[in-house]
Symmetry: C3
Subunit: 464 residues, 3 copies
């Protein structure tokens, strides 16, 4: 008995499935390249065991607790937000009783993969097997093989990028590098805290940025210099990319004088909603300008309405499963930055979306034209078998495969990384197998493409 | 020879089809639960035979006459809008000659089902068979087995909800209840006529509402009290739900003073377009507040641009097939009501859409988080095999199955009810069979799910 | 060995594929009807050989050079925009080296078709076969069989419509008609240059229009009369349709006095952005009014953000692969023209879109109701196997098949015409085969439908 079938996610038609199987056999064991995600470098710096199953699987995974919450489970019952979980078995049992809610969701595929492949479980999680799971996982977590570094090696990870604030000392990354362990953990420059006026503590962050970088961030020139300085600090510690999580994809091209005036207003907490948005827009353009200079790859993740649930935000804070996608424009929003840098040969801007309507309408046409643009993989809610299939179906005909950049796991849940890459590999195999079966590409091309999609395009796009 | 194949709507792949067949066998004969629709309680109160095939199949079905109209048939030729059809055979022949227009549409599936299952027809409707159909159907309609109550029983209907104005006396519902017949016909509280300033006769309706409920609806407090009173009247006659057909999903959270001032303006036919929209927005919030109190389930059906064809509206009035969907926002529009009641454990708000782009972008993420939200089935133009499949494909991975509520037939055409439920059951079987064949869920789960989707989730969501 | 498989684009499932094959056999050799495209009548007037493979396949095909450009090939390397290509072999080699970029795109299918069917190639294009291709194609192009008229006959073209400015003398069309050659080449009236204030040279174009038509285009009345006059000139030379490429689908219904005042402002280069848009909107309505009079079929192609890449536009001008689709509204935009003419029995307005989200939400509901509306086939980026399948899946259930108008190749690349029609025919066969296999239509209906979709609906909608 097994939780997972070897043919999962492959098309039912036998001829097509057999092509998918053969493709998958050639990439199943390739190394994992993780150029974008939200795991913690600290895990690898200290290499301490993960404390318990609830802390590992439930607390950091907003996919998991948002579904439970939607069906009436209170976040308090799950001890969300607590540094130490007082009754992890109780939390686990609640999860197990509600495991049927995940039927048909990618979380189910990811979790079953970890349960089977990492913990050897063979019976489905349910109220009846809750304790068996809890005990088995708890026990294994205390063994050396389940310490973060050992898992990293066991997962065949070639590189893992974290996502970090410019105000972060990156001490954990430095510790890892100094440790002698060969695992490649690299930071990603994510400046939301110092470029987004809506970010909590923005004004103080600007001040800290000045102190830290030795620039006068009370002036526009000093502020820009500080950012340039911190990017280089990240780059020196292995960073190859930046990441930008703005509410919209809007960019701007203001004059130096306009920038100075706008910054003066924004820096001190002033400015209307429109001016704050204009400031973010200008900062995306500044980041692109710096990427032309320093070569860092730019990732833009727009279109999430953050902290939509006021009650939950008040009690539990950010990232609690209450971010909701919004309609997103790219065609007009990106025009200013593309007018400046869209034709730059050395620049790579990777675009992501939560609005699937833009795949065929905006993103594929843009990436299929501008040399600076590439399409990131399906993001967040769309990082799923159906979501990935829609991306390939809707983007490939216009952008081709070579304007895409492989897979991102984008996860906070370390144990889900191999599962997520496995789902992505299988879904790409399924898509390519269908194209071969329908004689839209030939089989030798599919074998080349699956290698490209799995490792080559990632390495190239992210300069890894 | 048959109009319908036993395997219709099941995937062609033999292995997948065989799973679909087995799933369908377990739900084919389950009772029909119809929690939302537009049939008339009067039919069951009087239990008179339906007069003729044209009156039964063509006149009430805007899917049918909109297609004929789009291809040059005049509504006058179909005697649309006439209380008695003077030449039903002629109308029927026009329909029969144009029956090929419905190829590939759900109307064709629904009609063929009724023709075969209820009237025993075996040859396709066409000019050649028009009279055979007309005579056969006419004859059967005069038999006791085709009276409304007999059909209701024959359809194995567990419950049928109508949709009614707060100004309706609900006399027909009372007659049915008093009749001794066991058929469960329940009303649904649909207050558009008294909460939408654009509704014809709005000002007079408010006055009537006051008289009827014994409240002074010239004041905000009296108006709200009147609505509360009428909801309870509906509830006493079996209603478990309300329904709201606003142009947008906008909600608001005004202060009592603002409500009073706005109502004073609106009540007398004043207020700008924006203020009228704000009033509707506030009234959605008021309805949610009352649902928290009285437990009625709230259905929101936004995004239809009503009476788009000015010429048709002038000649024939409302509901003539000239309503066109518009782009619909939920993320920002629902924020005010969700801030107030989104986390209420006792509240159920069922969201519908005519804008399929919102399934994966807004609706599934919202319903996969807020405990008060559920997703209604594909609505109106999207209540079709492809439409239902897109709903499952685009909503399930984020919202799961358990944040959905089963099927609504939503019809004015009584004879189409079993057909519509059959299409929904078959499409769900097809979707689940594909998931099983691709090993995304296991077979035992699919058997449980198909029961849930067919009856359990409906009963639970609508408190039936 | 072959570049193309006989079963390409047919579903993998054997039972479904066999239906698709049988359907395709009945339409494979039907004549090509091309009611909308951008080939040049001059080719057929002079009947001179195409100069070289690069001039034939690369220069006019923005699908081809936009993909190369997106991956770092400079347009200068491809000699884009040059009247004579100085080193066509070098350009061809660049193309051949990058041919793998087109995997999964429709360009690949179109090109392989032309390579195999017209030039007899059997090995895939690559760096290794670049010279073989170049030499073979070059040689054949100099033979009589590859002159434009011979190709036209060989392609079994029944009619080919070009797209022309009202300022065009149509001398080439006249030459063709006078030549004795029987090929039917007809113009299409595309008035963007004289109705769009944003069009380069708009003010002078209005003056020219006056001179040419003998009307005083300094007045609204004279301007409208001039347009009416030129439409009739086109009609006399065989035109059956007009075409309108506005940024949006907006229409208006201004009074005569408002039109006069607006035109007075616009004609001389005045007017705000909003007034310019209003002018375009009014002109769509005027064109519809004239279509009611003169019977020309109206095509509306809205929603392209033209010349998005400022750098490319400055260096190379229009139509260089830098047009990007934008979100498009039809429901509100078309209301004014539909209020006036939506119920006109003699009028046909064919709607196109670059925003696939409108298929099921707006376009199918509109075309499934208004007698004057029909749906054009998938356009531009969506004229592809997946794009055509989405169109059928999303539009058919509401609009049916009979509110669609068959296929447009819409191409500047003459050699791609048979390939494009072949892809469309195969995709329609695949769609119908699936419907038959799933028992949603019967097989005899599919055979009738594939004839309708391939030739009958085109002839009827375009009055050919």
């Amino acid at each position: 008995m097994a939780l997972l079938h070897d043919d999962r996610l492959f098309p039912a038609d036998e001829a097509t499935r057999s092509i998918a199987r053969r493709l998958y056999a050639t990439v199943r064991d390739l190394p994992i390249i993780s150029p974008h995600g939200h795991t913690q470098a600290g895990w690898f710096a200290t290499n301490e065991p993960f404390p318990d199953p609830a802390k590992l699987f439930i607390q950091p995974d907003h996919y998991v607790h948002r579904m439970l919450y939607s069906q009436g489970v209170q976040l308090e019952e799950l001890e969300i937000g607590k540094a130490v979980i007082s009754d992890p078995r109780k939390v686990w049992r609640i999860f197990a009783e509600h495991y049927y809610l995940f039927r048909g969701t990618p979380s189910r595929l990811w979790l079953d993969y970890a349960f089977q492949e990492q913990f050897g479980m063979t019976e489905r999680l349910s109220a009846a097997t809750a304790d068996l799971y809890f005990d088995t996982i708890s026990e294994k977590l205390q063994t050396p093989a389940f310490c973060p570094r050992a898992l990293f090696d066991n997962f065949k990870m070639e590189v893992l990028a974290t996502t970090d604030s410019p105000l972060d000392s990156l001490a954990d990354i430095q510790t890892v590098r100094a440790s002698g362990w060969k695992g490649r953990i690299i930071p990603t420059f994510r400046p939301d805290s110092v470029v987004d006026p809506d970010f909590a503590g923005f004004a103080e962050n600007i001040v800290k940025l000045g102190v830290q970088s030795g620039n006068d961030t009370a002036t526009w020139v000093g502020y820009v210099a500080a950012l340039r300085h911190e990017r280089l600090r990240f780059k020196a510690l292995g960073a190859t990319a930046t990441d930008h999580g703005h509410p919209t994809a809007r960019t701007a091209n203001l004059s130096a004088a306009e920038c100075e005036a706008l910054f003066a207003k924004i820096r001190t907490g002033g400015g209307s909603k429109d001016e704050q948005e204009l400031f973010r827009a200008q900062m995306l353009t500044e980041m692109a300008r710096m990427s032309v200079e320093d070569g860092l790859v730019m990732q833009i993740h727009p279109g999430s309405s953050r902290n939509h649930n006021a009650g939950i935000f008040k009690k539990f804070g950010r990232d609690m499963g209450a971010d909701i996608p919004t309609q997103t424009d790219y065609v007009h929003a990106l025009r200013p930055v593309l007018d400046l840098f869209g034709n730059e040969p050395g620049l790579t801007i990777i675009l992501f979306t939560l609005d699937e309507g833009t795949y065929s309408r905006e993103l594929a046409p843009l990436a299929g034209h501008y040399p600076a643009l590439r399409l990131g993989p399906p993001w967040w809610f769309h990082d799923s078998p159906e979501g990935m299939m829609r991306f390939r179906e809707q983007a490939t005909e216009t952008a081709g495969f070579y304007n895409t950049v492989g897979f991102n796991d984008d996860t906070r849940a370390f144990l889900s990384i191999p599962a997520r890459h496995d789902v992505a590999r299988r879904t790409d195999c399924a898509f390519l197998a269908k194209m071969v079966a329908e004689h839209r590409i030939e089989e030798d091309e599919a074998f080349e493409l699956i290698q490209d999609l799995t490792v080559n395009l990632v390495r190239k796009a992210y300069k890894l």
